[in-house]
Symmetry: C2
Subunit: 197 residues, 2 copies
DNA sequence: GTCTATAGGCGGATAGAC
DNA sequence: GTCTATCCGCCTATAGAC
């Protein structure tokens, strides 16, 4: 029971840390700032966590594992490569809009992870990119996609959904559904009306 | 003469600061770090600059003004909206590949600007986005572009070229020319071969 | 214009009472 | 588990000798 309460308390602290790190950046955010949000003195935080960077680790790796888990599911789908890429774009937008603080921290503050976690994190991310690029490569070979460099295509897609993380706030004028539809339209079909392959 | 030398020295310090801020982040980068790169003691830097945030300001506003200046030129071009948007995409890629540290800092560290510079910077950026979105809006009205939300289109385009800033290193396997061509292909024509408007 | 020395503040984290 | 008090280090920036 004590462990469950303690676990909840820790999760609450991690949640607040995610929002704080997103707003001010990991380095500029102090444990005193975090304590104020949580409603305790700074020293009390250390009854739940061991260090500031433990918070960063929890956030970054939770996000990383969520992305990898969805990628694995997508790879096993029975579908065309275009459908798989489309599903991954939707997945990215969904994760971002549902867990925006954590995603933002994982995207922008990961470089402050201390070793060996930094190496582990970049390794996971590189592996994710490699597997995603392989799907695009196969889509090109299958004639579904234009013959572009798969890495360029990958990063263009990933970056194009990442802006949502910077910009999106719940309750903003544009709904997640419109977001999803229009971003997909541009990336999959292109911006211009009349296309000539 | 003394002023010219001093000016060059200051520019050198700003250049080194840009690289340092990009690598470590503005808050995590110390004046001692910067001094070591420049080859002096930290206190000596203050003969050339007034404060750490002056360096951040110089970098952020130089980049902002470069973007705005190119946008103004593009607005005055005699060309279709598709050609103008294409020109702006090329301009973004060119600025990023030529001045990557400064662009990276302006994109990622601007939030550490102290007021009133923070407000001024965000105002300049919002104005840039408004004018760029207007070009897309007109392109949609002219039937050149698909009927998507202009803001979504804008941010998707801007984000898609921004990844270059995170990823690009001079001398990497992919050339700026290939970058430009493939990113344009995806954003303007779309990833899939057979498009059905 | 560069140096050494240092002021003055805030950072993460710990000790120990309750 | 939370508090107060505090350690100790690093931070930006300044003072003043050379």
């Amino acid at each position: 029971m004590a462990r469950i309460l303690s676990g909840n308390r820790k999760q609450f602290i991690i949640e607040e840390a995610g929002q704080l790190f997103r707003e001010k950046g990991y380095t500029a955010a102090s444990m005193r700032d975090l304590a104020e949000r949580v409603g305790v003195e700074a020293a009390s935080l250390y009854n739940h966590i061991k260090s500031k960077d433990e918070l960063l680790r929890e956030i970054c790796f939770r996000v990383a594992h969520e992305y990898v888990s969805h990628l694995s599911q997508t790879e096993q789908m029975e579908a065309t490569y275009a459908e798989k890429v489309r599903a991954l774009l939707r997945m990215h937008i969904a994760i971002i809009t549902h867990d925006i603080s954590a995603v933002s921290v994982a995207n922008n503050e990961w470089k402050h992870l201390p070793e060996p976690y930094l190496s582990e994190f970049t390794h996971i991310r590189r592996d994710y990119e490699r597997r995603f690029a392989a799907l695009i490569q196969k889509g090109i070979e299958a004639g579904e996609f234009r013959p572009v460099n798969p890495k360029i295509a990958l990063f263009t897609l990933l970056a194009a959904v990442r802006w949502v993380e910077i910009w999106y706030k719940p309750g903003r004028e544009i709904s997640p559904q419109t977001l999803e539809r229009d971003i997909e339209t541009i990336l999959i079909h292109g911006l211009t009306q009349a296309t000539a392959p």
